[in-house]
Symmetry: C2
Subunit: 407 residues, 2 copies
């Protein structure tokens, strides 16, 4: 337990907090900021002036307010002034984006398809570093990169970004964060996280869980991952491995084999492969289109597709009921390809939750689909990258002058 902050730390905190409000929720008036932050208007004015001098926000007239009278100025984040680099290392796709303050995509690159297992971590880091050079090369002169975040489909140790195991891409104990940092050469550490945890962060800040402090996010991809937000904080656990929801054992007797070596995991019973197999389709042809095809077939009355969604919905419902009992979330969000699965099996999922979650724990529960689509992971990686910057925006700017690669 540390002592409270110094005056200087408070000022830094307040600058970061103000900037975070407009970064996450967009333009708002100084009066709204004063109300949200519990500060008086003159303090807010001072903070806004300081951020405006640094080029991080601008005050301007709002768009048409639809009301008579002179509208108040609003404080707008300068999306092009500072940006982060976000990377998404998928199983068959590498994606990168340059994302400005306020969460605006300023540029993006993608390489797809990339066959599974084709590349080692060093080679992937080099492709991403090349994307980074292309994207910072097109940035406006005088703008700065203030953070780097990357998402990997595997278990990523915190805080050093070592990928301990990522079996879908055959990585084991790869010092990916350090390697990426070195190849980028921006003088900024690359923060690395698990893709589902970062998607959870994204949906919490900018998507279906916006405004909700207690959230469980389930992410369907080639496997099932997740993230837990409690009291507004994404839980990391002891080493950052929290959220491996797909390896919750739901079927201990005669369960299906799972990629992790065990049997009966949620991922084995309700993942894409299980769905496709139960629907009598090629279980290796995973992905959003294949999952969507099963849901559409079920809508048209296809018996196997219906049965498959029924079974998968059962297992997902049990998994969610367990999470509801353990964590009492307000919202459960189904993202990635579980968005499609949820749309096709919501009744079954809800029914299992009703039988297995305690009444008090489930009475206020809301089930939602992810709102950010395929970009959830990149957006989460960007928010991870922004988090250090927002803790002390002016300090970071002073330090990262050298990260301006356009000068």
């Amino acid at each position: 337990m540390k002592a409270g902050p110094s005056q200087e730390e408070i000022r830094r905190h307040n600058l970061g907090t103000l900037l975070r409000h407009v970064h996450i929720d967009g333009s708002m008036s100084r009066a709204v900021l004063a109300d949200r932050m519990g500060l008086n208007r003159s303090t807010i004015l001072g903070l806004v002036s300081e951020l405006a001098s640094a080029g991080l926000v601008r005050e301007e007239l709002p768009g048409d307010t639809g009301r008579a009278g002179r509208p108040s100025l609003v404080v707008r984040p300068e999306s092009d002034q500072v940006y982060v680099l976000a990377f998404d290392v998928g199983v068959d796709r590498l994606a990168a984006a340059r994302i400005g303050l306020g969460g605006v995509f300023l540029d993006r690159r993608e390489e797809t398809p990339m066959p599974p297992g084709r590349r080692g971590a060093g080679e992937v880091a080099e492709v991403l570093a090349d994307f980074a050079r292309q994207m910072t090369g097109t940035a406006r002169r005088g703008t700065s990169c203030v953070g780097v975040g990357a998402a990997v489909r595997g278990m990523v140790r915190q805080p050093d970004g070592v990928v301990r195991a990522a079996h879908y891409i055959d990585w084991k104990d790869e010092e990916f964060g350090e390697d990426l940092t070195r190849r980028l050469g921006l003088g900024l550490p690359a923060a690395v996280g698990n893709e589902a945890s970062l998607a959870a962060l994204a949906e919490h800040l900018r998507g279906a869980g916006s405004g909700c402090q207690d959230l469980v996010y389930l992410h369907g991809d080639i496997g099932i991952g997740g993230g837990v937000v409690s009291g507004g904080q994404l839980l990391g656990g002891d080493c950052g491995y929290s959220g491996e929801i797909g390896h919750m054992l739901v079927n201990p007797r005669g369960g299906r084999p799972c990629g992790c070596g065990a049997r009966g995991c949620l991922e084995a019973e309700a993942g894409e492969r299980a769905l496709l197999e139960a629907a009598r389709r090629d279980p290796s042809a995973t992905g959003r289109e294949a999952v969507r095809a099963v849901v559409e077939a079920a809508d048209r009355g296809d018996i196997s597709a219906r049965a498959a969604l029924h079974d998968v919905g059962d297992w997902l419902g049990i998994g969610v009921a367990n999470l509801v009992n353990i964590l009492n979330p307000r919202t459960v969000v189904f993202g990635g390809t579980l968005r499609e699965v949820f749309l096709g099996s919501a009744a079954q999922i809800r029914s299992r939750i009703n039988s297995h979650a305690l009444p008090a724990s489930r009475e206020g529960l809301r089930l939602r689909v992810g709102e950010l689509g395929e970009d959830a992971v990149l957006i989460g990686a960007a928010e991870l990258a922004f988090s250090t910057f927002l803790a002390g925006p002016l300090d970071t700017l002073a330090r990262t002058g050298s990260a301006d690669t356009t000068q």
Copy 2:
């Protein structure tokens, strides 16, 4: 996101933080406090003086240090100056304690056995209020009660302390917190929490999980409850119902009926009744002695007792493996009567964790038994009661002068 604190709020925070250090960890020197809190020695001196003037700490020579030379003074919490009232509403036992700063038991009362379902919430609150009057009556003149905490075996809504459901004592939607507050008449709100969550808090602060920021606690009582500490915070969830680990569905096919109405919950498969039934003993004679008898019989080679511990260990191991995958705790603590069960089935539990928890998630995992015994729940209720006081100790003292019932 609020703005940073004012100077006055920081001073209050620092006073509370210093007091919390000696409250939890006992006497320590000003140098140690300066180091822990990241403050210079003159600031620490000022804080200590202010707390000493209020009678909350005292500076004194330490006991024999075993070293030559003049020892430094240590700052000691004044255990008798301020205290809280802690209550534990068990299924067949009501307990109460007056607990001083530093966690010292100053007085206690108990009524046992109390047959299950015999009393409504109002009647229980009246017994507890009577205990409170007896205990404050014996308190030294000039000392103050600064908080009230109560533990109930049920689902307790936060922040209002309504007991939504406590099926072992037949309570439903009881406004217990408000009722207890009124009957006590101390001008202090009675904070109410779930017994297993409070035991988790106690083991985190003062027991087997001391110093550990990421902890899962499993509590065996007539049912199985639990609590999750992540990043040093006890998780509440949306309404305070977090930690209902006993109702995790572990056996979806042919599971045993559970008190909650479902089948196959961890509590149904691994609770006291399941253990006693599998060991061919009277399943209604639950409690620590009965559980201990099974473990002792197994040690002596009793076949049924061994098989019972094997089965229960299997289910507990599956439950813990799931929690490890979902939450990546550093430590899992087995408390209440699960302490005895763990001692009798550790190998089985560990084996299931090894098969079902992901290697990275379990590699640093420690399994521990609770260290606080039957008092864990009362200690947790006391810490709940102290928490508001410690957020601003001098304000609370100023406000609660009237709570000094001895003047």
